[in-house]
C-alpha cells in the first residue's frame, strides 16, 4: 500500500498554499513593524500564483486521491478558486485597515493564507475525518481573526461568541458524524454512500440532523444563524467579508458533497428538508435585515438570506440547472458581497461609522465608490445586468425545473423584500444630502479590491458565457 506519486501532483495547490503560509510566517519575522504590508503583498503574489496549479486542474478527471480521503474534481477546483480569489481580495482590503490597529498585521496574512488552505481542504474532503479536520482548520483561524482587534470590545465579543457557537456546533456535528460512522462502518463519503442505503432511519436522521448543525453554522443557515450579525458587526470588516464569502462558500461545498455523495442514496427526504430550510432561512434573514441601520449587520442578515437562496440551489441540485445554478450563485455572491463589504471597509475607515445614515451624500463625496455600491446592491437584489441577477436567474431556474416552483415563488417574494433594505443604502448615498463636501478617497489596495469585485459583478452579469462554460466542468462533482 504505497502512495502513487501523481497523488502529490493532485494536491499541488494545497502544497503551494501550505508552503506559502510557512514562508510568510518566516518572512514576517524579518520585516520591520512599519513595513508589514510587504507580507501582505507577498501573500497576494503567492496566492495569485497558486491559481496557476488550481486552474491547471480545471479539466481534471474526477477521482479520489490519498486512499479515498481527498477528492479531485472540478467542483473542488471551483471552490478552491473562490477561496483563493476571495482571500486575495480580502487581503487587499485589509491592508489599509490593519495599519495602526494591531501589531500582528503579518500574522493575519499568514492566517488568511492558511485559511485559504483550509477552505481548499473543505471543498475537497472526501472523508469524514478530513472534513472535520478542515472545518476546524478554517474555524480556528476564523475565531482568531474575528477577535483580531483586541482593544476593541466588539471584536472581543465577536471572537468569544463566534468561538462558543462554532465549537458547540462542531461538537454536535462530530457527534453526528460518529453516528454516521456507526451506521456504515465507513469514514469515506464514498464508502458511506454504499452502505447508507440500508441504514436504519431514525438513527440516520439523528446523524444528518446533527451534521447539519455544524455545516449550517458555517453557512449561517436558520436556525444556526444567530451568531452571524454579532460576529459580522464586531469582527474587523475585512474579516467579516471573509466570513460572509469564503467560509460560507466552503461550507456549501462541504454540505453539497456530504449531501450529494453520502446522504443522497439514503431514504431520507433531504430535498424537502433543505427546501424548507431554504425558505425559512431566506425569509427570516430578509425580514430581520429590514430594520437594520448598521451596514455590517444588514449585510449579515442579507448573507443569511443569500444562504437561503443558495440552499435553494442545494435542494434543486440534482436538476440540470441545480449544480451550475448553485455555483454561479456562489461566484456572483462572492464578488458582489465582497464588493459591498469593501465599500463598508472604506466608509468605516474614512468616516469612522458603519451606520447606513452616515452614508448620506456619498454619491457626491465618492462618486465612483457610490456608483459601485449601487452596482453591488442591485446585484445583491438580483437586478440585471449584474452577476446577482444571473445567479438568481439560474437558481430560480433550478428550482422551477426541479419541481420546486413554490420555493422559487418564495424566493421571488424575498427578492422584492430585499430590495427595500438594499435600496436603503442607495437612498442614503444618493438621495440624502452630504454632511460635508470633503471627498472620501480610497487607498490603492482597497481600490484594486473594489475594482476586481465590481468587474467580476458586471462581467458575470453581462458576459456570463465563459463562466457558464467554466461551471460546466466545475459542476462535475465526483459521485459514485
Amino acid at each position: 500500500m504505497s502512495l502513487p506519486p501523481e497523488d502529490l501532483w493532485a494536491i499541488a495547490p494545497e502544497i503551494w498554499l501550505g508552503g506559502l503560509g510557512l514562508v510568510l510566517l518566516v518572512l514576517d519575522l524579518f520585516v520591520p513593524a512599519n513595513r508589514k504590508s510587504i507580507v501582505g503583498w507577498a501573500a497576494i503574489v503567492g496566492l495569485t500564483l497558486s491559481l496557476v496549479p488550481i486552474l491547471g486542474m480545471l479539466g481534471v478527471t474526477p477521482r479520489t486521491v490519498f486512499f479515498g480521503t481527498y477528492a479531485v474534481d472540478g467542483f473542488a477546483v471551483f471552490f478552491k478558486i473562490i477561496a483563493v480569489v476571495s482571500t486575495i481580495l480580502v487581503i487587499l482590503s485589509a491592508m489599509d485597515v490593519l495599519r495602526g490597529q494591531t501589531q500582528f498585521e503579518g500574522e493575519l496574512y499568514v492566517l488568511l493564507t492558511f485559511a485559504a488552505l483550509g477552505l481548499s481542504f473543505m471543498a475537497a474532503s472526501a472523508d469524514l475525518i478530513m472534513l472535520v479536520l478542515s472545518i476546524e482548520f478554517v474555524s480556528l483561524s476564523s475565531y482568531v481573526m474575528a477577535a483580531y482587534f483586541k482593544t476593541d470590545r466588539k471584536s472581543n465579543e465577536a471572537g468569544i461568541k463566534y468561538f462558543l457557537f462554532g465549537a458547540s456546533a462542531s461538537a454536535v456535528m462530530i457527534y453526528g458524524f460518529s453516528i454516521l460512522y456507526g451506521l456504515t462502518g465507513q469514514t469515506s463519503l464514498y464508502g458511506i454512500a454504499d452502505a447508507i442505503r440500508t441504514a436504519p432511519r431514525p438513527a440516520l436522521i439523528v446523524a444528518v440532523a446533527f451534521a447539519l448543525a455544524g455545516l449550517g453554522f458555517k453557512i449561517s443557515m436558520v436556525p444556526f444563524h444567530q451568531w452571524t450579525p454579532d460576529v459580522y458587526e464586531g469582527a474587523p470588516t475585512p474579516v467579516a467579508a471573509y466570513l460572509s464569502v469564503a467560509s460560507k462558500a466552503a461550507g456549501f461545498a462541504a454540505l453539497v458533497r456530504l449531501l450529494m455523495v453520502a446522504v443522497a442514496p439514503s431514504a431520507v427526504d433531504w430535498v424537502t428538508l433543505v427546501a424548507g430550510l431554504s425558505a425559512v432561512t431566506m425569509t427570516l434573514g430578509n425580514l430581520l435585515a429590514l430594520p437594520q441601520r448598521n451596514i455590517k449587520r444588514m449585510l449579515a442578515y442579507s448573507s443569511i438570506s443569500h444562504a437561503g437562496f443558495l440552499l435553494m440551489g442545494v435542494a434543486a441540485y440534482r436538476g440540470d440547472f441545480g449544480a451550475p445554478g448553485l455555483l454561479i450563485y456562489v461566484l456572483a455572491y462572492t464578488f458582489t458581497n465582497l464588493g459591498a463589504f469593501f465599500v463598508a471597509v472604506l466608509v468605516g475607515q474614512r468616516l469612522g461609522s458603519d451606520d447606513i445614515p452616515d452614508y448620506a451624500g456619498l454619491a457626491q463625496r465618492a462618486p465612483w465608490t457610490a456608483f459601485l455600491m449601487v452596482v453591488f446592491m442591485l446585484s445583491l437584489t438580483g437586478i440585471p445586468p449584474t452577476a446577482g441577477f444571473f445567479g438568481k436567474f439560474y437558481i430560480f431556474g433550478a428550482a422551477v425545473s426541479g419541481g420546486l416552483l413554490w420555493l422559487a415563488v418564495v424566493g421571488a417574494v424575498n427578492s422584492v423584500v430585499s430590495l427595500y433594505y438594499y435600496v436603503g443604502v442607495v437612498r442614503a448615498m444618493y438621495l440624502m444630502p452630504a454632511p460635508s463636501a470633503e471627498a472620501v478617497r480610497s487607498p490603492v489596495a482597497l481600490t484594486m479590491a473594489l475594482a476586481v469585485a465590481a468587474a467580476g459583478t458586471l462581467v458575470i452579469g453581462v458576459f456570463p458565457q465563459p463562466f457558464v462554460n467554466l461551471l460546466g466542468t466545475a459542476a462535475l462533482l465526483l459521485r459514485l
Binding site: V132, Y175, Y181, G182, P229, D230
Partner: protein
C-alpha cells in the same frame, strides 16, 4: 448480560447531554468550554465503540478519535486565549455579560 455496543452508546449519549447542559446553562465561558469537551468525549466514545463493534477491519474510528482529541486541544488553546483576551478588555468571562451587540 453481555457487555455490548449499546451500553457504550448510552454512556456517550448521557455524557453528550451533560455537556450540552453545561453549554446551555453555565455563565462562565471556560465552563462552557468544559461542556464542549464533554460533548467531544462523548463523540469519541462512540467512535471507538463503533470501531470495535461495527467496523473492526480498519482503525478509522481510532484515528478519528485521535484527530478529535487533537482538535479539542487546539480549540481549548484558542478558546482560552480568546477568553483571556476578552477578559482583559471586558473584565468578565460571563457570556451573558458579553452583550454589547444585539439587534
Amino acid at each position: 448480560m453481555q457487555l455490548g455496543l449499546v451500553h457504550f452508546l448510552i454512556l456517550s449519549a448521557l455524557l453528550f447531554c451533560l455537556g450540552l447542559y453545561a453549554v446551555l446553562t453555565r455563565r462562565n465561558a471556560v465552563a462552557i468550554l468544559m461542556g464542549i469537551e464533554l460533548m467531544l468525549n462523548a463523540a469519541n466514545i462512540n467512535l471507538v465503540a463503533f470501531n470495535k463493534y461495527v467496523a473492526p477491519a480498519a482503525l478509522n474510528g481510532h484515528v478519528f478519535a485521535l484527530i478529535v482529541i487533537t482538535l479539542a486541544a487546539c480549540e481549548a488553546g484558542v478558546g482560552l486565549a480568546l477568553v483571556l483576551s476578552a477578559y482583559r478588555n471586558l473584565e468578565t468571562v460571563h457570556v451573558d455579560e458579553i452583550n454589547v451587540m444585539k439587534w
